[in-house]
């Protein structure tokens, strides 16, 4: 039996050597890395260093400006813009008011918007003298440049300094043009997300009037013979429409989406009876995965339509959701008439008629969210049924169910 207690011994000496060696092995690369990261600025000619500094400040200002010309964005970017211009102070205004002041002599901030007014009105840069009683105040001249989005003036960038040198005027004009570019990108971002929202709205508005009519007729047929079932179906119908027309959130959980599909199929089966067979195989592991709202429902509606309504006796719709490593694989299959692969290709490309808008819409949204490799995969041939498969990463930055 041994107990700890050999506080100094040859073994201890050896252990110190081992520990020191290990320490060196870990510390040396660390120091080298640190030097490589921290010491980067020390390399290069003065011109290179200046270019790097300017680009760095611009890249720091950019994320704030990409959210549009708001008070918050102006506040967060003004400091970087001042560093970029090297002026005593910088002011950012929109058409209505001053948004942010950065630099010395902030008592001049009250008049800043007034100074910007001519530039805002005619869209031309102006240079103005600033009246100040304090002889030491560096705010003597203001260089005002308008910020332009498209062909509309949306604000102004003002640089203040002791003299309005040609260099400062030119630099201010260039920085204002760069800020305008960032604001235009912000507008692009916004219109892109508006487009996505519009796509979801289009889908929401797409609950087929035929479906509503058919479902209500089917329910009506039960009112006398089986009032209890009619009541249940009506409640399901209510829940279904509530989910399909909810107004918030771009994403939902797979469980919610499947539940809605279940309601839809329940209503369809009330109408078709035994002619519609449904098989659902869902791995419980993937139920909490976030998916785009209404990404399955259009596929299932299509499957029911293709599988049944084209005058065949009966049909089976199979919905499978499986765990597949870092992804979740969902497929919707029917054993109906199938269709020509060329036609499906045309639908997905958006060049076919409007009857399968749902498919193209889902495909476009999946690609927009997860990238091009996550579009719909459609396997079909005439007379061989149709199987639509989608693969959704279980987790993607920025995607959360609501």
């Amino acid at each position: 039996m041994r107990r700890g207690g050999e506080f100094y011994s040859p073994a201890m000496g050896r252990s110190l050597v081992v520990v020191l060696a290990l320490g060196l092995v870990l510390v040396v690369p660390g120091v080298v890395l640190w030097r490589a990261v921290r010491g980067r600025r020390a390399f290069g000619t003065p011109a290179e260093i200046a270019t790097h500094a300017a680009l760095h400040e611009a890249s720091l200002a950019s994320p704030a400006l990409r959210s549009g010309l708001t008070a918050d964005a102006a506040l967060r970017s003004a400091g970087h813009l001042r560093a970029l211009l090297g002026s005593a102070a910088v002011a950012l205004s929109d058409t209505a008011q001053l948004l942010a002041w950065d630099g010395t002599s902030s008592e001049h901030a009250t008049r800043a918007h007034e100074l910007a007014a001519p530039a805002l009105a005619n869209g031309r840069p102006t240079v103005q003298r600033v009246a100040c009683a304090d002889p030491d105040c560096p705010v003597r001249f203001a260089v005002v440049c308008p910020l332009v989005q498209g062909d509309r003036v949306v604000g102004a960038l003002t640089a203040y300094d002791v003299v309005a040198s040609p260099g400062l005027v030119r630099a201010t004009a260039e920085v204002a043009r760069w800020v305008s570019g960032q604001l235009e990108l912000a507008e692009l971002d916004e219109s892109r997300s508006r487009l996505a929202e519009a796509q979801v709205r289009a889908l929401r508005a797409q609950i087929s009037p035929h479906f509503v009519y058919n479902a209500l007729t089917a329910i009506a047929s039960f009112v006398r013979t089986d009032p209890e079932r009619a009541r249940e179906l009506l409640l399901e119908f209510a829940d279904f429409t509530r989910y399909s027309s909810r107004t918030h959130g771009e994403f939902t959980t797979l469980a919610e989406e499947l539940r809605s599909i279940d309601r839809y199929l329940l209503l369809e089966r009330a109408r078709f009876g035994d002619r519609l067979q449904v098989v659902l195989r869902v791995a419980p592991e993937v139920l909490p995965v976030a998916v785009p709202y209404l990404c399955l429902q259009p596929l299932v509606e299509n499957a029911v339509q293709h599988g049944l309504e084209r005058g065949r006796g009966s049909g089976t719709v199979t919905v499978v959701a499986e765990d597949d490593g870092g992804q979740c694989r969902i497929s919707v299959e029917d054993d109906g008439a199938g269709s020509d692969p060329e036609r499906v290709r045309a639908i997905l490309a958006g060049t076919a008629g409007s009857d399968s808008m749902g498919l193209a819409n889902v495909d476009a949204r999946l690609r927009a969210v997860y990238g091009d490799e996550h579009g719909l995969l459609v396997e079909t041939a005439v007379g061989a049924g149709t199987k639509v498969t989608l693969r959704v990463p279980k987790w993607t930055a920025g995607v959360r169910a609501s």
């Binding site: 107990r3 700890g4 870092g326 987790w395 959360r400």
Partner: protein, 564 residues
């Protein structure tokens, strides 16, 4: 030594696992069934699945082997394996579930918005996954060798191939049911033979398990040695060596030749040189250093730290919590898991203790991990013993298959998504690559005790992902450079410790103790580095940390965790 029952048992478990995997999900369910299933996989079902995936070769064979050789201190292994879930429940489970992240790399990106930290975390998922796969494959090799005499490579390869086929073929797509089945199989397989063994021990007149004497051969025992063994002989003894007749073994270090050695009844058992002989009461008392473990107090605390904090960082553990429909169900599930795991871990200790009485020759051969499998034949014998052994073999294979499958799914998933991006797009190919690497490592490191390798995997998880998860969830000051530095230092130190232990760089004194149980110094170091570097780079705190924290900590019912 042929063992028809054992081979049948292995075949049955393999076929059942593959069968449930491939056909279990094909049983068509009607919609109303689905509604029930979608609302909840019941906590018991879910907890069974979590436990089934968690109970690995280390639990099934390793713990008994460690207790058998090193005594009471090793009881911290089962305690730590269970308590790790308690820490997970208290600190990590609910916030992580709210974050929506499925893996630690997902969490790193969600919390720190840094692709670099994500890649680093992915790298460690793969390293830990492989390190944890190795003992599973080793265990399989060992089991087949102990029961059927097949070479070690056969069992390791069998499990590697079966698991790869299962995972790559899509058999794990509804893993919950497969894993839940495995738990109950394992519990049955370990507790039924234990019951019979306990009865046999009673029938034997309940001999003392922790008496003042060391282990002795109860009957004339013949020991087969596949290779020469260096042993420490305590008392001189006359043995019969096949081929060369009687031979006197003097006290002290001796080398026993390859072949069969027959010991007389009542002789003290010579121990292999890496295990020190211990009397029953030393063996049964804590911190006594039985078996020659040095610095037992340090080793115990380091082990406690590694197992308590390492569970949360194992790649296959976190994923399972997503099967719960909501937070409260996740907590109930964890409670059931504690019960299920606790029940299971009561049993291996019994094997370890009975082993000292009935299979002491394993202390001579050094194959202590086989104690669970060897007991039924030694104590009960006959057809009954063989059947019980077959049941144990079935349980052991269930353990290898379930844990390896879970690990392979997680490791291959991360490989495809982050590490081999652009080169291997295919999940199946990634699974094959991961399994092949693990198999190669297992064949290279086949001499180490299973329990110890698992301990190292835990130590590495505790020194990398534990700081990342705990600080990420509970401290808003964590920055991407801080997290990266902590991961590199914690991971680097524990990797160095693992490598030096695997290569046997330091084998005595403090260096050996520090390197064999590195968690006690690597975990605090990793935490300290993460905090210090985060302070030094305080300007790099992600700007939306407030919202991320709200998402992590606000109860779901408040609806505060909606995006924007």
């Amino acid at each position: 030594m042929s063992a028809p029952f054992d081979i049948l048992a292995v075949a049955a478990v393999v076929l059942l696992t593959l069968g449930i995997g491939f056909y279990g999900l094909r049983l068509a369910r009607t919609t109303s069934d689905f509604m029930v299933a979608s609302r909840a996989v019941s906590p018991l079902w879910n907890a069974s699945a979590i436990s089934g995936e968690y109970l690995s070769a280390a639990s099934f064979l390793g713990i008994a082997g460690l207790v058998f050789a090193y005594g009471a201190d090793m009881l911290w292994y089962p305690v730590g394996f269970v308590a790790g879930y308690l820490v997970l429940l208290l600190l990590v489970a609910a916030p992580l579930r709210r974050s929506g992240a499925y893996t630690v790399p997902d969490f790193a990106e969600a919390r720190l918005a840094s692709p670099a930290v994500r890649r680093l975390a992915s790298l460690f998922v793969v390293v830990i996954g492989l390190l944890y796969l190795v003992p599973q494959l080793q265990g399989a090799g060992l089991t087949l060798r102990a029961t059927t005499g097949a070479p070690v490579e056969v069992g390791a390869m069998l499990v590697a191939v079966v698991v790869t086929v299962n995972v790559a073929g899509g058999g794990m797509r509804s893993a919950t049911f497969v894993q839940a089945f495995q738990y109950w199989l394992k519990l049955t397989a370990i507790s039924v033979p234990a019951l019979f063994l306990a009865l046999a021990w009673q029938g034997d007149g309940t001999p003392d398990l922790a008496g003042p004497a060391g282990p002795v051969f109860r009957d004339t025992t013949s020991v087969r040695l596949d290779s020469p063994v260096r042993v420490e002989v305590l008392e001189p003894v006359v043995v019969e060596v096949t081929g060369s007749g009687p031979r006197v073994l003097a006290a002290g270090e001796q080398v026993l030749p390859e072949g069969t050695v027959v010991f007389p009844a009542g002789a003290a058992v010579p121990h292999i040189d890496r295990i020190e002989a211990a009397t029953g009461d030393t063996w049964a008392s804590p911190l006594a250093g039985a078996g020659g473990l040095e610095h037992p107090l340090y080793a115990t605390y380091a082990l406690v730290l590694a197992t308590f904090l390492g569970t949360m960082g194992l790649p296959h553990v976190l994923v399972r919590f997503y099967t719960n429909p909501d937070g409260p169900a996740a907590r109930r599930t964890t409670l059931v898991v504690l019960g299920l795991l606790g029940t299971f871990y009561l049993v291996p200790t019994l094997y370890g203790a009975l082993g000292r009485l009935y299979t002491p020759e394993l202390l001579l051969t050094g194959r202590t991990d086989a104690v669970v499998l060897a007991l039924p034949r030694a104590l009960i014998g006959g057809i009954g013993g063989q059947l019980l052994e077959a049941l144990l073999v079935a349980g052991a294979f269930a353990a290898f298959l379930s844990t390896s499958s879970g690990l392979l799914v997680s490791t291959a998933g991360v490989l495809v998504q982050d590490v081999l991006r652009g080169t291997v797009r295919d999940f199946r190919r990634a699974a094959v690559v991961a399994a092949a690497v693990a198999l190669a490592l297992a064949l290279a490191a086949s001499s180490l005790p299973i329990g110890q390798v698992v301990g190292l995997a835990f130590a590495m998880a505790a020194s990398t992902f534990c700081p990342l998860l705990v600080l990420g969830i509970w401290w808003r000051g964590l920055t991407p450079p801080g997290a990266a530095a902590g991961l590199i230092v914690g991971g680097g130190l524990s990797t160095a410790a693992v490598l030096s232990t695997l290569t046997g760089l330091a084998d005595r004194g403090w260096p050996a103790a520090l390197l064999a149980q590195p968690a006690a110094w690597t975990v605090p170091t990793a935490f300290a580095v993460m905090v210090a570097v985060s302070w030094a780079t305080a300007d790099r705190v992600p700007p939306d940390v407030g919202r991320t924290m709200l998402v992590l900590h606000a109860p779901e019912a408040l609806g505060l965790n909606r995006p924007r």
